[in-house]
Subunit: 641 residues, 2 copies
């Protein structure tokens, strides 16, 4: 038997007999890899593990750790679902069943509407089939064979005809007595699917077209291990509890109206949070040499032509007409700031020039993708553009990194990951400029001792960038700050400075927003803290509860002291039980719940309940005032009494 050479991702090569499968090679490399292998990349193409390899090839074994592995695993679970449904509901016509971001689904042509009880039965049947550990096999078919095989299922027949028209190969996958029309690839055995959950049902239209048949969709999620499924279900449950849309409405912080899709209304308490974030950033700006400007929102087409937005971003802009001219609501602040930069001659002595702006931005997102505060049509960013000389990149980036670290790590308690995206194949500017810029970014990251991953070639064509991803309290990752170098926009606008050599040089721009969109950041904060915002950000910081009517005067005395200290405080003197009043204050996520009664009044003290539900008795009012002020001033995340 002739030999072939298999090259592995680490560059090493192994010799095998022609016709060996990727699955066999995985087991040969190691027992664990053999067990974990789901599919393989052969010469960069995804293949079933059982596909024989007949010539020299590069090979990568794909497991559940890889994005492609997760997708194929869940696609196979969709087949398992269809298999079970057919066993239980022989009339059901399987149509399509892909993996999606949150798991997988399968659409069936069937009169019956699946009930929660059905889902339990189907899940049970899936378990039975999985346990039989059927081998999965691939069959290649011509159109006639395929049509014969799927006769009686008009949806599959239509798909077969589509494939034929598009000259695509037709294939099917079989496990036990179930066969599905499918391109593959798939995992090799049903027994590998050890943990799955059907999550919900929904109506859907064949091929997404409301004029077509209505189908019944079943959604599910799957993992190779039960512990991972359990963790996932717990995460979902936790995420639902802290969903910012739910909390925002319950707490009367923000709300959406159908009259303005994707544009939040911040109610008084939400507006307090909103304004506190702006004040916080403005305070930092003063210390860090940023200058705020207030700018228009509507700009004539000519500006967007110069900036390139008309060409590249037009469909995301809201466009209108006035006196025969076209205008767009700005989706970004950069061109406004270039206009300001260019409004006078700039010298190297004026640089860095840091221009900050909180102007509302509008992006014409599809209404279907709008999601609470995290995907909106209207937002304000803590946006700034920094104009610098090329040789100032490292120093200035260092300052921006310092600012970012301060916010994420010192003010909030986010862990974060950093990615540096470098020169793509198509780029503008000189290779030398790029190399120097990338070096400067790396040096700045290293000087600030920030670990980073390099995304080779992932930079924008107009400059390299640094991305920050934060991890929230339940482990979810959110992209936040981007620090983007830009060589192009200054060139488009001919923005220059006069150097020490008395001649003109192109200026370099840094685009940076650290919170990003204030709206989205609030959404993330609400979910991260499950509504229990740090004391300094809480719309109501202190509520004083009276144990009985007669302590209202004392409660109001304490309240006035807090007010003098600029603390946001309320008194609840209603004739309700103290237990009821505490529960209500907790429900409203008020960080400090004070109770006052006989003993407290006598001792000029209060009892304090903190966000972690610790209660401290007989705390002197003046001591508490001082501690609360200190907590607020230092923007502490945990309340320390």
């Amino acid at each position: 038997m002739s030999k072939i050479k298999i090259t592995l991702p680490d560059g090493s090569a192994r010799e095998y007999s022609k016709g060996i499968t990727a699955g066999e090679i995985a087991s040969d490399i190691g027992r664990k890899l053999g067990e974990d292998a789901l599919i393989a990349k052969v010469n960069s193409k995804l293949k079933d593990l059982f596909t024989p390899i007949n010539e020299d090839a590069s090979l990568q074994i794909i497991t559940f750790k890889d994005k492609e592995g997760i997708e194929v695993f869940r696609h196979s679970t969709a087949h398992l679902l269809a298999h079970a449904v057919i066993e239980l509901f022989p009339d059901a016509k399987p149509t399509i069943g892909p993996a999606v971001e949150e798991g997988f689904y399968y659409d069936f042509g069937i009169e019956h509407h699946f009930t929660p009880e059905d889902l339990a039965k189907i899940e049970h049947k899936m378990k039975e089939i999985a346990d039989k550990n059927y081998a999965v096999e691939r069959i290649e078919l011509d159109e006639a064979e395929a049509k014969r095989m799927f006769r009686g299922n008009k949806y599959k027949i239509e798909l077969i005809e589509d494939f034929h028209k598009e000259k695509q190969p037709i294939s099917a996958y079989t496990q036990g007595n179930f066969t599905d029309l499918c391109r593959g690839p798939h995992i090799p055995r049903t027994g590998m699917m050890k943990a799955f959950k059907l999550t919900k049902t929904a109506g859907a239209y064949w091929k997404g077209n409301p004029n077509n048949d209505q189908l019944q969709r079943i959604y599910g999620i799957s993992f190779p291990e039960k512990s991972k499924l359990d963790a996932h279900l717990k995460l979902i449950e936790e995420a639902e509890k802290r969903d910012h849309r739910k909390l925002g409405k319950e707490l009367e912080w923000f709300h959406f109206f159908e009259e303005s899709p994707g544009a939040p209304f911040f109610y008084p308490k939400g507006a307090i949070i909103y304004n506190l974030l702006l004040e916080f950033i403005k305070y930092e700006y003063k210390k860090r040499g940023y200058q705020e400007v207030v700018t228009p929102l509507l700009y004539e087409k000519s500006l967007w032509l110069t900036s390139g937005h008309w060409e590249h971003f037009k469909e995301n802009m809201f466009i209108l007409e006035s006196e025969g001219k076209e205008y767009a609501l700005k989706p970004m602040n950069c061109p406004s700031h270039v206009l300001i930069y260019k409004s006078k001659s700039r010298s190297y002595k004026d640089l860095p020039l840091r221009i900050a702006d909180f102007a509302p931005l509008h992006r014409n997102e599809l209404s279907g993708v709008l999601t609470g505060l995290t995907r909106v049509r209207k937002m304000s960013q803590d946006d700034a553009h920094i104009f610098i000389m090329h040789e100032q990149i490292e120093e200035e980036i260092l300052k921006v990194l310092d600012f970012t670290h301060y916010i994420y790590n010192e003010v909030f308690d986010f862990e974060y990951n950093v990615e540096l995206s470098t020169r793509p194949e198509k780029y503008m500017g000189s290779l030398d400029d790029w190399n120097r810029a990338e070096d400067a970014l790396k040096k700045a990251l290293e000087r600030k001792k920030i670990k980073y991953e390099i995304k080779e070639g992932d930079g924008a064509f107009y400059g390299p960038k640094i991305d920050f991803h934060i991890k929230d309290a339940i482990g979810r990752s959110w992209q936040l700050a981007t620090i983007q170098l830009d060589f192009q926009l200054p060139e488009r606008f001919d923005a220059t400075y006069i150097g020490a050599d008395n001649s003109k040089h192109p200026v370099v721009m840094i685009h940076r927003a650290l919170l990003g969109s204030i709206e989205r950041f609030i959404g993330i904060l609400v979910e991260h803290y499950a509504g229990k915002l740090p004391l300094w950000l809480a719309p109501v910081q202190v509520r004083i509860l009276t144990v009985a009517d007669r302590f209202e005067k004392y409660a109001n005395e304490i309240k006035e002291k807090f007010e003098k200290n600029k603390t946001r405080v309320e008194v609840d003197a209603r004739a309700e039980s103290i237990g009821y009043k505490v529960r209500e204050a907790q429900h409203q996520k008020i960080p400090l719940i004070l109770t006052v009664g006989e003993k407290e009044e006598k001792n000029n003290a209060v009892a304090v309940r903190t966000p972690d539900n610790n209660v401290y008795f007989d705390i002197k009012a003046d001591d508490l005032l001082e501690k609360v002020s200190d907590n607020i001033e230092k923007k502490k995340v945990k309340v320390e009494i």
Copy 2:
């Protein structure tokens, strides 16, 4: 000769012979009135003074004190101008020459372009003609006569044909050898025009249509007395010096770009002023029980249909489309706040509910009428809507009056006039509600001891209102706050509250903005103070100038102390003369200019130059710090050292 009865404005009646003129009656009433009389209102119609009166009539003598008097006086000066032009330029074809807000103009068909020297000559000729004190006479003509009289002037022929077509009577006015086609009325003698000035020339099109002939326009202004003209010219000169557009650019506070007509860019120093005004208002809001919200800018057509804006305000809104739906950028905040009001059930215990908003508003004004900050397309107001019960009107209006008085009178140094506009002929709501509401407004004004003028019938159909007009430092009047009651909008949106009687009642809304548009208010402030803003609002409050290099360290020590006190301070340590540095600081309207040298350093003191150009020597630095903080905290208009 038969007698007729003439009734005067004070209700008194006099008998005269039939055929007497209004001019004769004016002289009969009093010599001064006879001299000042310009025209007359006979039975409410404007007539020449020399028109005989042949039957009983009401009569009002109009002088330069009346708006109609000023208009006719200036229209007559336009005739005087045309008279002089014809004498000097016999080829010129007079076309039309009306009075306008800022004086009058006359358009001539002529090849020649008038030069400043021409204007001087024409003015001289006008003086000659005026001094001849020609009597002005009116002639009634039929079309044929008129055409004969104005043969050779195609513009007049066209007008005559227009009048004929519209079946309007045709008349002309003659003075000396000059006759002009004109409806009149006019003042009776050229000698009454004692003071005039031709101010500028411009091109214009016949009938304003760019397809027609180009004409030469001459603008002018006139008064019955030289002292009034002088005062006017001085005011114009003073107004030009303090023109906010000029100062805004010179001081780098704000600027406009053609890419965004009518939408100011506030540069860093202007943005400081902008934000200080917002902070000031927000601070007052906290004290006065207002709650700020942050709201969307784009709303679907359905909202504007409900609010009535689609019907009444559509052409002033910027309208755009997304996903097949029409949206408008909001020109006002009211509907947003009604949505918030209606987002939950409201009880009488929740009222008054005061919702404040600084959202940017957009109005699609014609580009031709845009004027600096005072007439813009984009602005933010210190806008609030107060939701109240009908019986809360008086108390709440009193609070709003108090707030307004505090801002205009105590914080800024504006004098103001107040007008109360009452029920118009067409109104909505019950007569009883109107009467009670108007009474409540009057009572509130009287309780606050504010003098007011009643504008009978000038209220909006949806409620009575109170308008504030402030007077600036050079005597110009600006309309600012409006406090508008609204019975209608709540009804359109079915906005109600649950009363103590447990049933639903319509809520009443107050629309109120006290600064009005922040943009416009800044424009007015800049002109009122000629750029020398009160210390608390100045973008740079203190500049420290060194007498020589070696005092830079001391200057910086003082600077740090000011910064600790949150004062906006700069050091000018350049090697320029102290005189030069002082002049530059004054030019930049910096309120406090400190100089430091040998003696100051030794004594831990500074020399202080205040905005009124007083210099105080040897002021202890610590005393000054305290005084400056006090001036800022108390928002003093005059700096007191």
